[in-house]
């Protein structure tokens, strides 16, 4: 039987998981709410496309919904969830590498429009100088990100923006901490080389 809403809000994560595994839809929703913002943020920053980020969000929680009954606490729920997200993002990044499609610009009747403009505007706060700097920096960052391998990019994203430890990153990506460390090192070297004149 489903627990009352107030009880669900008080449940710790493992209780929520067990309730959701028992078929409690509200417990599932509460579980999603604990993580969905960071899932969306990670997908948005990795793929730098709001549409792709939304697709990743939808597919991630669909997979979680379909497979939660198979979750067996062999790892933390966070690791399990991020394994799904990173695998989906890696697939998109690998496909883009093959197609050489990295730009967030699209052709419209008014010419080339950058889909990230709307997101960037919020950061520049209307200051033209800052907006210009922000655009140049974003452009350079986008170029260097496209030059990273998908794995380097995911590791960098998880360490720099998500603040995950390399050990946890290795566990999520099914690799060793050492391999994650090497990936991070290569990524930062490439960033340093490409963005040196901004520092």
């Amino acid at each position: 039987m489903a627990a009352p809403a107030i009880e669900i809000q008080r449940m710790d994560e493992s209780t929520l998981i067990r309730a959701a595994q028992g078929g409690d839809e509200r417990a599932f929703e509460e579980l999603v709410r604990q993580y969905d913002q960071s899932v969306l943020r990670m997908a948005l920053n990795l793929l730098r496309s709001p549409e792709d980020a939304n697709d990743i969000y939808q597919e991630t929680f669909l997979r979680v919904y379909r497979n939660l009954h198979k979750f067996r606490y062999d790892c933390s729920f966070h690791t399990w969830l991020y394994r799904i997200v990173t695998n989906l993002c890696l697939d998109v990044l690998r496909k883009r590498k093959v197609r050489k499609e990295e730009s967030s610009t699209v052709s419209t009747g008014d010419g080339e429009v950058d889909r990230m403009d709307a997101v960037r505007e919020a950061r520049a706060h209307g200051d033209p100088q800052r907006e210009l700097f922000s655009r140049q920096l974003d452009g350079r960052i986008r170029v260097v990100l496209s030059e990273l391998t998908p794995r380097e990019r995911v590791v960098f994203e998880m360490r720099h923006y998500e603040g995950m430890r390399l050990k946890a990153i290795g566990e999520t990506l099914g690799t060793t901490e050492e391999a994650a460390k090497n990936c991070l090192f290569r990524a930062t070297q490439k960033m340093r080389a490409a963005l040196g004149d901004f520092t």
């Binding site: 209780t15 062999d74 390399l166 991070l184 340093r192």
Partner: protein, 309 residues
Amino acid sequence: MKCDQAARLIPLYLYGELGFDEEEGLEQHLDGCESCRVEVASQRRLHDLLDAATIPVDDGMLTAARLESRRRLKQEPRLRATWWSHIGDMFSIRFVPAPVLAQSLGAVALVAVGFLGARIMPGGFFPRSSQGDIADVADPVASRVRYVEPGDSGQVQIVIEETHRRTLTGHADDEPIRRWLMAATKDPADAGVRVQSVELLKSQCGQADIRNVLLYALQHDPNAGVRLKALDGLKQFSSDPETKQALTRVLLADSNPGVRTQVVDLLVQHREDQMVGVLQELLSRESNRYIRQRCERALHEMNASPETY
């Protein structure tokens, strides 16, 4: 340390990902090297720039994603439950609509079988066991025929084993709940049940029987998640001799570096002479860098050599 070695460590240093010794070595180098200090400052600025380039998720985007997700999930079959429902699934009968004539014939056949059954087994097909009724026991969720034996005058005796679902409610420290939780920590079929049971019991670790259950889980459970939960409960008893012995065994035998890392952190706190041999033994076989460093540092602080001679 030379500058080229330092250059390799600086990016990891800024992320706080260096081991104790590496960090110490780098900081010593930085104290005396102006150009590497400049490099650290430059990479710090790079971090700031990258931080500023983070794309935030605005509320509208998140809300839209949530609404779309909710709509999509509504089209999915309801959440699948875990092993209880799997057992139920295994024994459920799925009906396929039959043609009208077949349905009529089937109905007649069922009535005939029922009538015949009532005549040959007046006590009912599923007699109650000698244990009597259990009022709060639901219908069986699983059953199997244990054996079939022909009796006198054409009667047949069938022994059926049934699994019943029963719901118990109470606090984790209520005696019946406590007993069931202790039993559930050894449920071989479901690591999730074991994790949850250990989690619920660990606050009662002051009681010897619960502590024994957790010690057993820590040393014998095949799932590292369960072992970590048990360890969590046992932490406050790391100076208790029996717990300490178990922790030592786990440190030398557990296959999971996460478990060993937590155990070594607990054991080196005590700085006891008998730990010296254990740490030396561990050093001779341990491959995990963090654990090795922890052992070396503890041995150093206890004025002991890292190896036996």
